[in-house]
């Protein structure tokens, strides 16, 4: 039982990170019906910028830092700002000109942007292809154990991940449900042209969606880098695809679905690895794809998705 609870905590922890990225995928799909392949790479940029910022500010020998929480806040702020700006720029330069063209063009452009970010990161002037360690101690006491009940150990980083995700989700739901911009966002994702007719500046809302999604992805990148302290330009591939699977699992277009899907996928992954012995860990990365195929075969609209009726 204790092991099950331990796996539960682990699963929720990694699931929260997937949920943060999945929300970005799902919001962009909701407004634009575009799968933003570059989203996983924005996650990677978030982690990379955090590392570079920590280096530039001189935080890396962590003992030199006098106010650790302030340093962490500074690094986080830089990372979020840069990724938000990046998301805005990508939308403006790469996706907006293709909005009225066939969807396949945007899909290929998204692949192009993804490749650009990956190979740009691998260039030695930017980052270089080798993984570099991330100072997990930037988060004070990250690897220490927060508390232990019975045999269940909850480390500080898991707690931080869960708390931060909860906070961000609450903020997001406040923005989406209680503000006018959120209302406009929901309107645009429901029916694009009617929203434009109602006087909503759709361009601005779409930019806002991208910035919001990218910010969440950056936060996810930072948390992932603290949890698994290594940063490399290709680290966004696998979590990106898994987060996409989570978004599809929950119903792409639905924010609640993305969160639930992320948590479920994290739990499934950890449970399979934990309980299936050596063969399970080999198939860890394949589980997400199997879940994807299963959900696309059984219920393509996902858990919370709306079933679109095809009109002739």
């Amino acid at each position: 039982m204790a092991e099950f609870l331990q796996q539960l905590i682990n699963g929720l922890s990694i699931g929260s990170i997937y949920a943060l990225i999945a929300v970005g995928y799902t919001m962009v799909y909701g407004v634009l019906q575009l799968i933003n392949f570059a989203h996983g790479d924005i996650f990677m940029v978030g982690a990379m910028v955090a590392l570079v910022a920590a280096r530039t500010f001189g935080f890396i020998p962590v003992e030199n830092v006098s106010h650790p929480w302030l340093a962490l806040a500074a690094v986080t702020a830089v990372s979020l700002l840069v990724c938000g700006g990046l998301g805005f720029a990508v939308e403006r330069l790469a996706y907006r000109p293709l909005r009225d063209k066939p969807r396949i063009n945007s899909l290929i452009t998204a692949i192009g942007v993804s490749l650009l970010l990956e190979y740009g990161g691998q260039h030695k002037k930017v980052f270089g292809p080798t993984p570099q360690p991330f100072p997990a101690d930037l988060v004070p006491g990250a690897s220490t154990q927060l508390f232990a009940i019975g045999g269940v150990v909850v480390s500080q980083i898991d707690a931080i991940v869960l708390v931060v995700t909860l906070f961000l989700m609450l903020t997001l739901s406040y923005i989406v449900l209680r503000t006018r911009t959120g209302l406009a966002l929901r309107a645009v994702s429901h029916r694009f042209d009617t929203a434009a007719l109602m006087g909503i500046n759709t361009d601005r809302i779409i930019s806002f969606t991208f910035v919001l999604g990218s910010t969440l992805a950056a936060m996810a990148g930072l948390l992932y880098a603290v949890k698994y302290p290594s940063v490399n330009p290709l680290m966004g591939l696998l979590p990106g695809v898994k987060a996409f699977v989570a978004a599809v699992l929950g119903g792409i277009g639905s924010i609640t679905g993305a969160v639930v899907g992320g948590l479920v996928l994290g739990l499934v992954e950890v449970m399979v690895v934990g309980y299936m012995g050596p063969s399970g860990s080999q198939y860890k990365d394949g589980i997400a794809f199997v879940v994807l195929i299963a959900i696309l075969l059984v219920k393509p609209s996902g858990l919370f998705g709306r079933n679109a009726i095809e009109k002739v």
Binding site: A94, L98, L107, I108, V113, L116, V290, L296, P300, E310
Partner: protein, 465 residues
Amino acid sequence: MPSKKSDILPHADALPPAPLPALPVLSDKSGWGQALLANWSIPVVLLLVVAIGYLLEKANIKSYYQRILILIGFNIILAVSLQLINGFSGQFSLGHAGFMAVGAYAAAYPAISYSARLTNPLGVLLYLVSVLLVIGIAAGALWGILFLIRRTRLAHPALPGILLLMLAAWLLVDWAATARSDTPPWWAVWSRGVAALRGLFGWLTSHGQPGARTLSLKIPEIIRQPLCMLVLLAGGGCSAAVAGLVVGLPTLRLRGDYLAIATLGLAEIIRIAIQNSEPLGGALGLTGIPKATTFAWLYGAAFLTTIAVWRLAYSPRGRAIVAVRDNEIAAASVGIDTTRHKVLAFTIGAFFAGIAGALYALHERSVTPSSFGVQRSIEIVVMVTLGGLGSISGAILAAVVLTILPEALRPIEAYRMIIYSLLLIGMMLVRPQGLLGGRELWPRRWRPNRSPQPVDRPRVTEVTR
């Protein structure tokens, strides 16, 4: 019947007499003979391509240029086969590398295990037939399960779902229990089934191989190796075609983005499955494959791929495929079987990708699962899109350009892939319809006669005695 030509055409006497080809009259012979003779250009050009390939091989070009030519050959086959799936059938597939992987391993394994120097064609054939038999039995079992599901659904709609969930729970618990102890539980029916299939396969190959080997020695030596190559290529292609079937059937009702991700997922599942299977070498792959791909084989295969896809795409069946792409509901209402045509595109595209994979394995002498990842699929998709969706000559052109381009950019190695991706984005922004915009390069009169213009090649049936 008009008595003289001048009755129908007033100026007929002034026209030069129609050139009589020096061919025998076949209008009253069988349709096969007619078809063969009407298509005589295909074997002739094929022989020409093979001859040029043979000469190129002997010409001893610098190995750097040789490598580029080989890569162009692979990319042509892959791009043209993907054009059938992505362009003509409109199913955006990001999983082409998976089919290539299946073909590569399906050719590599028998080449290593049963025919070390490609001198045992019958052994390879026996192996592939055994694989086919085992897959057939497994597919039959699957069909049986689906049949039972359909029957139980007649009893109550929710019944199959409940039974499947129970079965899945049972299998998961069984797998977990197996992972924790050494003795398999007595109710592990499914693992027994898999073990039985494995046993059957082992029995078939081990009992037949010695006989196949001695029989192979009876085949004249000069055709032993080409025959073995042919069997390997066909086997690779057919395995990949089966994979295409497996990928194409479940993804039928998916569209656009979903289909892209689903094919990506399935290709990754194939790759991970290969990576985790010990008989196929695991993550290190298979090594020691004899090197048998020459320019002749490669470009001959590329030529045949182009001809096959061309003939399919610009035929009534191809028109049906394009109709399904353009408007599936309208096509279905006209009576076109959408399922059959979509699956056909996938299967045939996968077949040629498998041939490319087999040639790749026989050239590189070793195959690893990592060389068939998402990156390769995306490279081929970029080629197809750059050339223009729906254009075979565009795919070939783009394959050539996009093979030479990274090599031409090698001096600025560090910026090479960045320029590549910027090129991709720029191309989508500036000319999204691709280089040829869906049109073909070849002169019009070689295409099937769609316009009212007369064909100026004399058709055999019109020759009068």
